[in-house]
Symmetry: C2
Subunit: 250 residues, 2 copies
DNA sequence: TACTTGGCTTCCGTTCAATGGAAGGACGAT
DNA sequence: ATCGTCCTTCCATTGAACGGAAGCCAAGTA
Protein backbone atom coordinates (compact mmCIF):
# COMPACT_ATOMS: atom_id res chain seq x y z
CA UNK A 1 0.00 0.00 0.00
CA UNK A 2 1.11 3.53 -0.61
CA UNK A 3 -1.03 6.54 0.11
CA UNK A 4 -1.59 9.39 -2.28
CA UNK A 5 1.10 12.01 -2.60
CA UNK A 6 -1.02 14.69 -1.10
CA UNK A 7 -1.96 12.71 1.93
CA UNK A 8 1.69 11.93 2.50
CA UNK A 9 2.53 15.58 2.58
CA UNK A 10 -0.34 16.11 4.99
CA UNK A 11 0.87 13.25 7.14
CA UNK A 12 4.15 15.07 7.46
CA UNK A 13 2.32 18.13 8.72
CA UNK A 14 0.31 15.93 11.02
CA UNK A 15 3.51 14.80 12.67
CA UNK A 16 3.57 18.14 14.45
CA UNK A 17 1.55 18.43 17.62
CA UNK A 18 1.69 20.52 20.77
CA UNK A 19 4.30 18.18 22.23
CA UNK A 20 6.37 18.23 19.05
CA UNK A 21 6.53 21.74 17.73
CA UNK A 22 9.95 21.23 16.20
CA UNK A 23 11.10 18.10 14.40
CA UNK A 24 14.21 17.10 12.50
CA UNK A 25 13.88 15.69 9.02
CA UNK A 26 14.56 12.18 10.25
CA UNK A 27 12.05 12.55 13.05
CA UNK A 28 9.46 13.67 10.52
CA UNK A 29 10.21 10.67 8.35
CA UNK A 30 10.04 8.33 11.31
CA UNK A 31 6.85 9.76 12.76
CA UNK A 32 5.02 9.65 9.48
CA UNK A 33 6.45 6.31 8.48
CA UNK A 34 8.07 7.06 5.18
CA UNK A 35 11.56 6.65 3.76
CA UNK A 36 13.97 9.44 4.50
CA UNK A 37 14.49 10.28 0.84
CA UNK A 38 10.77 10.68 0.30
CA UNK A 39 10.31 12.79 3.38
CA UNK A 40 13.23 14.90 2.28
CA UNK A 41 11.62 15.72 -1.02
CA UNK A 42 8.19 16.43 0.39
CA UNK A 43 9.51 18.50 3.25
CA UNK A 44 11.48 20.43 0.68
CA UNK A 45 8.30 21.31 -1.15
CA UNK A 46 6.45 22.23 1.99
CA UNK A 47 9.36 24.39 3.01
CA UNK A 48 9.57 26.11 -0.35
CA UNK A 49 5.91 26.96 -0.14
CA UNK A 50 6.15 28.30 3.38
CA UNK A 51 4.15 25.61 5.14
CA UNK A 52 7.26 24.71 7.09
CA UNK A 53 10.08 26.90 8.29
CA UNK A 54 13.54 25.87 9.23
CA UNK A 55 15.30 26.96 12.39
CA UNK A 56 19.00 27.72 12.51
CA UNK A 57 19.41 24.34 14.16
CA UNK A 58 18.08 22.69 11.02
CA UNK A 59 14.89 21.56 12.68
CA UNK A 60 11.58 22.18 11.02
CA UNK A 61 8.59 24.01 12.48
CA UNK A 62 5.18 25.01 11.16
CA UNK A 63 5.69 28.04 8.97
CA UNK A 64 4.15 31.44 9.02
CA UNK A 65 2.10 30.76 5.93
CA UNK A 66 0.19 28.02 7.69
CA UNK A 67 -0.32 30.36 10.60
CA UNK A 68 -1.89 32.86 8.21
CA UNK A 69 -4.10 30.17 6.75
CA UNK A 70 -5.10 28.88 10.13
CA UNK A 71 -6.40 32.29 11.08
CA UNK A 72 -8.80 32.10 8.15
CA UNK A 73 -10.47 29.01 9.56
CA UNK A 74 -13.99 29.78 10.63
CA UNK A 75 -13.40 28.26 14.03
CA UNK A 76 -16.23 30.15 15.52
CA UNK A 77 -14.74 33.31 14.06
CA UNK A 78 -17.95 35.18 14.63
CA UNK A 79 -18.19 33.92 18.15
CA UNK A 80 -14.62 34.84 19.02
CA UNK A 81 -15.03 38.28 17.60
CA UNK A 82 -18.29 38.91 19.35
CA UNK A 83 -16.95 37.61 22.62
CA UNK A 84 -13.59 39.31 22.61
CA UNK A 85 -14.54 42.57 24.32
CA UNK A 86 -16.57 40.76 26.93
CA UNK A 87 -13.66 38.52 27.77
CA UNK A 88 -11.59 41.59 28.48
CA UNK A 89 -14.30 43.03 30.65
CA UNK A 90 -14.50 39.81 32.58
CA UNK A 91 -10.80 39.72 33.06
CA UNK A 92 -10.84 43.29 34.20
CA UNK A 93 -13.59 42.61 36.70
CA UNK A 94 -12.21 39.37 38.11
CA UNK A 95 -8.50 39.18 37.24
CA UNK A 96 -9.10 35.46 36.78
CA UNK A 97 -8.19 33.36 33.78
CA UNK A 98 -11.07 33.62 31.31
CA UNK A 99 -12.01 30.85 28.89
CA UNK A 100 -14.26 30.63 25.88
CA UNK A 101 -14.87 27.07 24.75
CA UNK A 102 -17.07 25.02 22.44
CA UNK A 103 -17.82 21.35 22.26
CA UNK A 104 -15.77 19.38 19.74
CA UNK A 105 -17.17 15.89 19.62
CA UNK A 106 -16.84 14.57 23.14
CA UNK A 107 -14.20 17.05 24.22
CA UNK A 108 -13.95 20.70 25.09
CA UNK A 109 -12.13 22.87 22.57
CA UNK A 110 -10.75 26.11 23.96
CA UNK A 111 -11.14 28.78 21.32
CA UNK A 112 -10.05 31.76 23.34
CA UNK A 113 -8.30 32.32 26.56
CA UNK A 114 -7.15 35.26 28.52
CA UNK A 115 -4.78 34.88 31.42
CA UNK A 116 -3.39 37.47 33.73
CA UNK A 117 -0.06 38.00 35.37
CA UNK A 118 -0.82 35.93 38.35
CA UNK A 119 -2.35 32.79 37.08
CA UNK A 120 -3.57 29.65 38.65
CA UNK A 121 -2.05 26.43 37.29
CA UNK A 122 -4.15 26.04 34.16
CA UNK A 123 -3.74 23.30 31.61
CA UNK A 124 -5.76 24.83 28.82
CA UNK A 125 -4.33 26.58 25.82
CA UNK A 126 -6.10 28.03 22.84
CA UNK A 127 -6.63 25.10 20.50
CA UNK A 128 -6.26 22.48 23.18
CA UNK A 129 -8.88 19.88 23.95
CA UNK A 130 -9.74 18.68 27.42
CA UNK A 131 -12.23 16.17 28.80
CA UNK A 132 -15.73 17.49 29.38
CA UNK A 133 -16.36 15.93 32.77
CA UNK A 134 -13.45 17.59 34.53
CA UNK A 135 -13.80 21.20 33.47
CA UNK A 136 -16.34 23.90 34.20
CA UNK A 137 -16.94 24.81 30.59
CA UNK A 138 -17.06 21.11 29.79
CA UNK A 139 -19.86 20.45 32.28
CA UNK A 140 -21.87 23.32 30.85
CA UNK A 141 -21.46 22.11 27.29
CA UNK A 142 -22.22 18.56 28.36
CA UNK A 143 -25.36 19.61 30.17
CA UNK A 144 -26.77 20.98 26.93
CA UNK A 145 -25.24 18.43 24.54
CA UNK A 146 -27.27 15.86 22.59
CA UNK A 147 -28.12 12.74 24.53
CA UNK A 148 -25.78 10.58 22.42
CA UNK A 149 -22.78 12.69 23.31
CA UNK A 150 -23.67 12.67 26.98
CA UNK A 151 -23.98 8.90 26.94
CA UNK A 152 -20.59 8.47 25.36
CA UNK A 153 -18.86 10.83 27.76
CA UNK A 154 -20.49 9.20 30.77
CA UNK A 155 -19.11 5.89 29.55
CA UNK A 156 -15.52 7.00 30.00
CA UNK A 157 -15.05 9.19 33.03
CA UNK A 158 -11.28 9.06 33.34
CA UNK A 159 -9.75 10.12 36.60
CA UNK A 160 -7.51 13.17 36.28
CA UNK A 161 -7.01 14.25 39.88
CA UNK A 162 -8.18 12.83 43.16
CA UNK A 163 -11.26 15.04 42.91
CA UNK A 164 -12.33 14.15 39.38
CA UNK A 165 -15.89 12.88 39.21
CA UNK A 166 -15.84 9.36 37.88
CA UNK A 167 -19.28 8.11 38.88
CA UNK A 168 -21.85 8.61 36.10
CA UNK A 169 -24.66 9.07 38.59
CA UNK A 170 -22.92 11.91 40.38
CA UNK A 171 -22.09 13.67 37.14
CA UNK A 172 -25.66 13.29 35.89
CA UNK A 173 -26.93 14.85 39.08
CA UNK A 174 -24.53 17.76 38.59
CA UNK A 175 -25.62 18.24 35.01
CA UNK A 176 -29.21 18.43 36.16
CA UNK A 177 -28.24 21.19 38.56
CA UNK A 178 -26.32 22.99 35.84
CA UNK A 179 -29.47 23.15 33.74
CA UNK A 180 -31.51 24.26 36.74
CA UNK A 181 -29.15 26.88 38.10
CA UNK A 182 -27.53 28.05 34.87
CA UNK A 183 -23.91 27.55 35.87
CA UNK A 184 -21.38 24.81 36.56
CA UNK A 185 -18.44 24.63 38.95
CA UNK A 186 -15.43 22.42 39.46
CA UNK A 187 -13.11 22.07 42.40
CA UNK A 188 -9.64 20.81 41.54
CA UNK A 189 -11.14 18.17 39.27
CA UNK A 190 -8.79 18.91 36.39
CA UNK A 191 -5.74 20.24 38.17
CA UNK A 192 -5.00 20.73 41.83
CA UNK A 193 -5.25 24.28 43.07
CA UNK A 194 -7.67 25.31 40.33
CA UNK A 195 -11.41 25.77 40.65
CA UNK A 196 -13.72 27.02 37.96
CA UNK A 197 -17.14 28.45 37.24
CA UNK A 198 -18.79 28.47 33.85
CA UNK A 199 -22.03 29.52 32.19
CA UNK A 200 -23.59 28.80 28.81
CA UNK A 201 -23.51 31.27 25.93
CA UNK A 202 -26.63 31.17 23.82
CA UNK A 203 -27.03 31.86 20.12
CA UNK A 204 -29.72 33.69 18.25
CA UNK A 205 -32.41 31.11 18.88
CA UNK A 206 -31.48 30.28 22.44
CA UNK A 207 -29.35 27.23 21.66
CA UNK A 208 -26.14 26.83 23.63
CA UNK A 209 -23.26 27.60 21.30
CA UNK A 210 -20.38 27.95 23.72
CA UNK A 211 -19.39 28.17 27.34
CA UNK A 212 -17.72 30.98 29.18
CA UNK A 213 -15.64 30.14 32.21
CA UNK A 214 -13.35 31.49 34.89
CA UNK A 215 -10.56 29.70 36.67
CA UNK A 216 -9.66 30.81 40.18
CA UNK A 217 -7.64 29.38 43.06
CA UNK A 218 -10.61 29.27 45.38
CA UNK A 219 -14.31 29.42 44.79
CA UNK A 220 -15.87 29.58 48.22
CA UNK A 221 -15.78 33.29 48.79
CA UNK A 222 -16.69 34.79 45.52
CA UNK A 223 -18.91 32.35 43.76
CA UNK A 224 -21.96 34.56 43.61
CA UNK A 225 -20.09 37.55 42.26
CA UNK A 226 -18.28 35.49 39.63
CA UNK A 227 -21.44 33.79 38.44
CA UNK A 228 -23.19 37.08 38.09
CA UNK A 229 -20.27 38.63 36.18
CA UNK A 230 -20.22 35.61 33.90
CA UNK A 231 -23.92 35.79 33.24
CA UNK A 232 -23.81 39.44 32.37
CA UNK A 233 -21.04 38.80 29.88
CA UNK A 234 -22.69 35.74 28.41
CA UNK A 235 -25.87 37.71 27.85
CA UNK A 236 -23.85 40.47 26.22
CA UNK A 237 -22.27 38.00 23.85
CA UNK A 238 -25.64 36.49 23.03
CA UNK A 239 -27.01 39.90 22.23
CA UNK A 240 -24.16 40.61 19.83
CA UNK A 241 -24.54 37.18 18.24
CA UNK A 242 -28.21 37.80 17.69
CA UNK A 243 -27.65 41.28 16.30
CA UNK A 244 -24.05 41.93 15.26
CA UNK A 245 -24.72 45.57 14.55
CA UNK A 246 -25.42 46.20 18.21
CA UNK A 247 -21.76 45.57 18.95
CA UNK A 248 -20.94 49.17 18.13
CA UNK A 249 -22.96 51.08 20.65
CA UNK A 250 -22.11 48.80 23.51
CA UNK B 1 4.73 22.33 -17.38
CA UNK B 2 2.94 20.76 -14.48
CA UNK B 3 3.94 21.32 -10.91
CA UNK B 4 4.39 18.60 -8.33
CA UNK B 5 1.33 17.11 -6.77
CA UNK B 6 2.13 18.49 -3.38
CA UNK B 7 2.60 22.00 -4.57
CA UNK B 8 -0.71 21.78 -6.39
CA UNK B 9 -2.46 20.87 -3.20
CA UNK B 10 -0.73 23.77 -1.52
CA UNK B 11 -1.75 26.09 -4.32
CA UNK B 12 -5.32 25.16 -3.59
CA UNK B 13 -4.86 26.17 0.01
CA UNK B 14 -3.14 29.33 -1.13
CA UNK B 15 -6.29 30.29 -2.99
CA UNK B 16 -7.77 31.25 0.35
CA UNK B 17 -7.00 34.70 1.65
CA UNK B 18 -8.67 37.19 3.97
CA UNK B 19 -10.89 38.37 1.13
CA UNK B 20 -11.79 34.83 0.12
CA UNK B 21 -12.45 32.82 3.21
CA UNK B 22 -14.96 30.59 1.48
CA UNK B 23 -14.63 29.24 -2.05
CA UNK B 24 -16.59 26.87 -4.23
CA UNK B 25 -14.85 23.98 -5.89
CA UNK B 26 -14.88 25.71 -9.25
CA UNK B 27 -13.57 28.93 -7.76
CA UNK B 28 -10.74 26.96 -6.20
CA UNK B 29 -9.91 25.36 -9.51
CA UNK B 30 -10.07 28.69 -11.30
CA UNK B 31 -8.00 30.58 -8.76
CA UNK B 32 -5.27 27.99 -8.70
CA UNK B 33 -5.37 27.37 -12.42
CA UNK B 34 -6.02 23.68 -12.65
CA UNK B 35 -8.66 21.52 -14.31
CA UNK B 36 -11.81 21.03 -12.36
CA UNK B 37 -11.43 17.27 -12.19
CA UNK B 38 -7.97 17.60 -10.69
CA UNK B 39 -9.06 20.19 -8.18
CA UNK B 40 -11.96 17.98 -7.27
CA UNK B 41 -9.70 15.10 -6.39
CA UNK B 42 -7.17 17.15 -4.48
CA UNK B 43 -9.81 19.07 -2.59
CA UNK B 44 -11.33 15.73 -1.70
CA UNK B 45 -8.10 14.62 -0.10
CA UNK B 46 -7.62 17.87 1.74
CA UNK B 47 -11.16 17.63 2.98
CA UNK B 48 -10.78 14.06 4.13
CA UNK B 49 -7.70 15.01 6.08
CA UNK B 50 -9.37 17.99 7.70
CA UNK B 51 -7.39 20.73 6.03
CA UNK B 52 -10.58 21.94 4.44
CA UNK B 53 -14.12 21.88 5.76
CA UNK B 54 -17.30 22.10 3.83
CA UNK B 55 -20.18 24.37 4.71
CA UNK B 56 -23.79 23.37 4.25
CA UNK B 57 -23.79 25.54 1.17
CA UNK B 58 -21.17 23.27 -0.39
CA UNK B 59 -18.47 25.90 -0.22
CA UNK B 60 -15.09 25.07 1.21
CA UNK B 61 -13.29 26.83 4.04
CA UNK B 62 -10.04 26.27 5.86
CA UNK B 63 -10.60 23.42 8.28
CA UNK B 64 -10.13 23.13 11.96
CA UNK B 65 -7.09 20.92 11.60
CA UNK B 66 -5.17 23.66 9.84
CA UNK B 67 -6.25 26.03 12.57
CA UNK B 68 -4.73 23.66 15.10
CA UNK B 69 -1.54 23.43 13.10
CA UNK B 70 -1.33 27.14 12.61
CA UNK B 71 -1.37 27.67 16.35
CA UNK B 72 1.80 25.59 16.56
CA UNK B 73 3.71 28.00 14.35
CA UNK B 74 6.36 29.80 16.33
CA UNK B 75 5.14 33.17 15.14
CA UNK B 76 6.69 35.00 18.00
CA UNK B 77 5.03 32.52 20.32
CA UNK B 78 7.27 33.57 23.17
CA UNK B 79 6.61 37.20 22.51
CA UNK B 80 2.85 36.79 22.34
CA UNK B 81 2.78 34.82 25.53
CA UNK B 82 4.98 37.24 27.38
CA UNK B 83 3.00 40.20 26.15
CA UNK B 84 -0.49 38.86 26.68
CA UNK B 85 -1.08 39.99 30.25
CA UNK B 86 0.36 43.40 29.54
CA UNK B 87 -1.95 43.87 26.61
CA UNK B 88 -4.88 43.26 28.90
CA UNK B 89 -3.56 45.71 31.41
CA UNK B 90 -3.16 48.30 28.71
CA UNK B 91 -6.64 47.75 27.50
CA UNK B 92 -7.94 48.02 31.01
CA UNK B 93 -6.10 51.26 31.57
CA UNK B 94 -6.97 52.93 28.29
CA UNK B 95 -9.99 51.13 26.78
CA UNK B 96 -8.32 51.69 23.43
CA UNK B 97 -7.54 49.12 20.77
CA UNK B 98 -4.18 47.56 21.63
CA UNK B 99 -1.77 46.19 19.04
CA UNK B 100 1.34 44.07 19.18
CA UNK B 101 3.23 44.00 15.90
CA UNK B 102 6.54 42.93 14.40
CA UNK B 103 8.26 43.79 11.18
CA UNK B 104 7.79 41.32 8.36
CA UNK B 105 10.04 42.40 5.52
CA UNK B 106 8.90 45.89 4.65
CA UNK B 107 5.49 45.58 6.25
CA UNK B 108 3.98 45.49 9.70
CA UNK B 109 2.61 42.15 10.80
CA UNK B 110 0.04 42.33 13.58
CA UNK B 111 0.55 39.37 15.85
CA UNK B 112 -1.91 40.27 18.55
CA UNK B 113 -4.73 42.66 18.91
CA UNK B 114 -7.22 43.51 21.54
CA UNK B 115 -10.23 45.64 20.78
CA UNK B 116 -12.93 46.92 23.05
CA UNK B 117 -16.64 47.42 22.74
CA UNK B 118 -16.41 50.86 21.32
CA UNK B 119 -13.79 50.72 18.68
CA UNK B 120 -12.36 53.24 16.36
CA UNK B 121 -12.40 52.26 12.70
CA UNK B 122 -9.36 50.01 12.64
CA UNK B 123 -8.14 48.13 9.64
CA UNK B 124 -5.78 45.76 11.38
CA UNK B 125 -6.52 42.15 12.19
CA UNK B 126 -4.31 39.53 13.72
CA UNK B 127 -2.26 38.17 10.86
CA UNK B 128 -2.80 41.17 8.62
CA UNK B 129 0.01 43.19 7.13
CA UNK B 130 -0.06 46.93 6.74
CA UNK B 131 2.39 49.50 5.37
CA UNK B 132 5.00 50.73 7.81
CA UNK B 133 4.84 54.43 7.00
CA UNK B 134 1.18 54.88 7.83
CA UNK B 135 0.89 53.17 11.20
CA UNK B 136 2.22 53.96 14.64
CA UNK B 137 3.73 50.55 15.23
CA UNK B 138 5.10 50.69 11.69
CA UNK B 139 6.95 53.93 12.30
CA UNK B 140 8.48 52.54 15.46
CA UNK B 141 9.63 49.37 13.74
CA UNK B 142 10.92 51.37 10.80
CA UNK B 143 12.86 53.71 13.04
CA UNK B 144 14.85 50.78 14.37
CA UNK B 145 14.97 48.70 11.17
CA UNK B 146 18.14 48.04 9.18
CA UNK B 147 19.11 50.79 6.77
CA UNK B 148 18.29 48.66 3.72
CA UNK B 149 14.70 48.16 4.83
CA UNK B 150 14.26 51.84 5.57
CA UNK B 151 15.58 52.72 2.13
CA UNK B 152 13.16 50.40 0.43
CA UNK B 153 10.16 51.62 2.39
CA UNK B 154 11.05 55.25 1.76
CA UNK B 155 11.11 54.47 -1.93
CA UNK B 156 7.42 53.63 -2.01
CA UNK B 157 5.39 55.83 0.28
CA UNK B 158 1.92 55.09 -1.02
CA UNK B 159 -0.85 57.45 -0.10
CA UNK B 160 -3.59 55.84 1.96
CA UNK B 161 -5.55 58.82 3.27
CA UNK B 162 -5.21 62.53 2.75
CA UNK B 163 -2.96 62.65 5.81
CA UNK B 164 -0.55 59.88 4.87
CA UNK B 165 3.06 61.00 4.81
CA UNK B 166 4.42 60.53 1.32
CA UNK B 167 7.53 62.74 1.41
CA UNK B 168 10.65 60.77 2.36
CA UNK B 169 12.22 63.76 4.03
CA UNK B 170 9.27 64.29 6.35
CA UNK B 171 9.16 60.65 7.31
CA UNK B 172 12.89 60.56 7.97
CA UNK B 173 12.54 63.54 10.25
CA UNK B 174 9.76 61.76 12.12
CA UNK B 175 11.82 58.61 12.47
CA UNK B 176 14.63 60.65 13.97
CA UNK B 177 12.19 61.99 16.53
CA UNK B 178 10.88 58.51 17.25
CA UNK B 179 14.39 57.39 18.15
CA UNK B 180 14.93 60.51 20.23
CA UNK B 181 11.62 60.52 22.09
CA UNK B 182 10.95 56.79 22.26
CA UNK B 183 7.49 56.80 20.74
CA UNK B 184 5.69 57.36 17.44
CA UNK B 185 2.30 58.80 16.62
CA UNK B 186 0.01 58.94 13.63
CA UNK B 187 -2.99 61.10 12.92
CA UNK B 188 -5.49 59.62 10.49
CA UNK B 189 -2.67 58.52 8.20
CA UNK B 190 -4.01 55.00 7.78
CA UNK B 191 -7.72 55.52 8.25
CA UNK B 192 -9.75 58.60 8.95
CA UNK B 193 -10.89 59.02 12.51
CA UNK B 194 -8.07 56.92 13.92
CA UNK B 195 -4.92 58.16 15.59
CA UNK B 196 -2.26 56.01 17.19
CA UNK B 197 0.67 55.98 19.55
CA UNK B 198 3.31 53.27 19.67
CA UNK B 199 6.51 52.40 21.50
CA UNK B 200 9.25 49.84 20.89
CA UNK B 201 9.48 46.57 22.81
CA UNK B 202 13.05 45.50 23.45
CA UNK B 203 14.49 42.03 23.75
CA UNK B 204 17.07 40.62 26.10
CA UNK B 205 19.99 42.55 24.63
CA UNK B 206 18.16 45.80 24.01
CA UNK B 207 17.30 45.17 20.37
CA UNK B 208 13.84 46.19 19.21
CA UNK B 209 11.81 43.03 18.68
CA UNK B 210 8.30 44.39 18.37
CA UNK B 211 6.13 47.45 18.75
CA UNK B 212 3.25 48.04 21.08
CA UNK B 213 0.57 50.47 20.01
CA UNK B 214 -2.76 52.03 20.86
CA UNK B 215 -5.42 53.32 18.50
CA UNK B 216 -7.70 56.09 19.69
CA UNK B 217 -10.12 58.53 18.07
CA UNK B 218 -8.18 61.56 19.22
CA UNK B 219 -4.70 62.03 20.50
CA UNK B 220 -4.47 65.60 21.60
CA UNK B 221 -5.78 65.29 25.11
CA UNK B 222 -4.23 62.13 26.41
CA UNK B 223 -0.97 61.67 24.64
CA UNK B 224 1.24 61.88 27.68
CA UNK B 225 -0.81 59.41 29.67
CA UNK B 226 -0.99 56.92 26.82
CA UNK B 227 2.72 57.08 26.11
CA UNK B 228 3.52 56.50 29.71
CA UNK B 229 1.13 53.55 29.96
CA UNK B 230 2.66 52.08 26.81
CA UNK B 231 6.18 52.48 28.10
CA UNK B 232 5.41 50.81 31.38
CA UNK B 233 3.90 47.86 29.55
CA UNK B 234 6.72 47.64 27.03
CA UNK B 235 9.23 47.56 29.85
CA UNK B 236 7.24 44.86 31.55
CA UNK B 237 7.26 42.76 28.42
CA UNK B 238 11.00 43.28 28.00
CA UNK B 239 11.58 42.15 31.54
CA UNK B 240 9.63 38.95 30.94
CA UNK B 241 11.42 38.36 27.65
CA UNK B 242 14.78 38.71 29.35
CA UNK B 243 13.80 36.48 32.24
CA UNK B 244 10.74 34.35 31.53
CA UNK B 245 10.61 33.03 35.06
CA UNK B 246 9.82 36.49 36.36
CA UNK B 247 6.45 36.28 34.64
CA UNK B 248 5.02 34.46 37.63
CA UNK B 249 5.48 36.94 40.42
CA UNK B 250 4.42 39.88 38.35
C1' DT C 1 44.33 9.90 12.87
C1' DA C 2 41.07 6.51 11.91
C1' DC C 3 36.62 4.76 12.69
C1' DT C 4 31.68 5.07 13.93
C1' DT C 5 27.23 7.07 14.28
C1' DG C 6 23.49 9.96 12.90
C1' DG C 7 21.58 13.20 10.18
C1' DC C 8 21.20 15.41 5.63
C1' DT C 9 21.33 15.61 0.48
C1' DT C 10 21.53 14.04 -4.37
C1' DC C 11 20.99 10.79 -8.07
C1' DC C 12 18.35 8.11 -11.27
C1' DG C 13 15.85 3.88 -13.43
C1' DT C 14 11.43 1.85 -12.52
C1' DT C 15 6.71 1.90 -11.98
C1' DC C 16 2.41 3.16 -10.48
C1' DA C 17 -0.48 6.79 -9.20
C1' DA C 18 -1.87 11.45 -10.80
C1' DT C 19 -3.83 13.42 -14.72
C1' DG C 20 -7.66 15.72 -17.16
C1' DG C 21 -10.91 15.28 -21.15
C1' DA C 22 -15.33 13.70 -21.52
C1' DA C 23 -19.80 12.49 -20.12
C1' DG C 24 -23.50 12.71 -16.96
C1' DG C 25 -26.27 14.59 -13.11
C1' DA C 26 -28.35 18.18 -10.14
C1' DC C 27 -30.10 22.60 -9.56
C1' DG C 28 -31.88 27.11 -10.71
C1' DA C 29 -32.79 30.84 -13.76
C1' DT C 30 -34.84 32.57 -18.04
C1' DA D 1 -37.81 23.57 -22.52
C1' DT D 2 -33.23 25.28 -22.73
C1' DC D 3 -29.39 27.28 -21.03
C1' DG D 4 -25.73 28.15 -17.54
C1' DT D 5 -23.18 26.72 -13.50
C1' DC D 6 -21.55 23.71 -10.53
C1' DC D 7 -20.40 19.08 -8.91
C1' DT D 8 -19.10 14.18 -9.56
C1' DT D 9 -17.35 9.91 -11.72
C1' DC D 10 -14.77 7.25 -15.14
C1' DC D 11 -10.59 5.51 -17.20
C1' DA D 12 -6.61 5.12 -20.63
C1' DT D 13 -2.34 7.46 -20.86
C1' DT D 14 2.02 9.04 -19.25
C1' DG D 15 5.17 11.57 -16.70
C1' DA D 16 6.06 12.47 -12.00
C1' DA D 17 6.75 10.33 -7.46
C1' DC D 18 9.30 6.74 -5.47
C1' DG D 19 13.02 5.08 -2.61
C1' DG D 20 17.38 2.27 -2.56
C1' DA D 21 21.95 3.46 -2.76
C1' DA D 22 25.86 6.21 -2.32
C1' DG D 23 28.14 10.22 -0.65
C1' DC D 24 28.59 14.29 2.51
C1' DC D 25 29.34 16.53 6.87
C1' DA D 26 29.82 17.02 11.87
C1' DA D 27 30.25 15.16 16.36
C1' DG D 28 31.63 11.68 19.24
C1' DT D 29 34.95 7.80 20.47
C1' DA D 30 39.07 5.04 20.65
Amino acid sequence: MSASVTSRALDLLGAFDPEHRTLTLSALARRSGMPLATAHRLVGELHRWGALARLESGEYVIGRRLWDLGLLAPVQAGLRQAASPFLHDLYGATLATVHLAVRDGTEVLYIDRLAGHVSVPVVSKIGSRLPMHATGVGKVLLAYAPEAVRAEVLGRLNRVTAYTITQPARLLEQLRRVRAEGFATTGEEMSLGACSVAVPVRGAVGEVVAALGLVVPDLRRERARLVSALQVSAQGISRVLADPSSAQWK
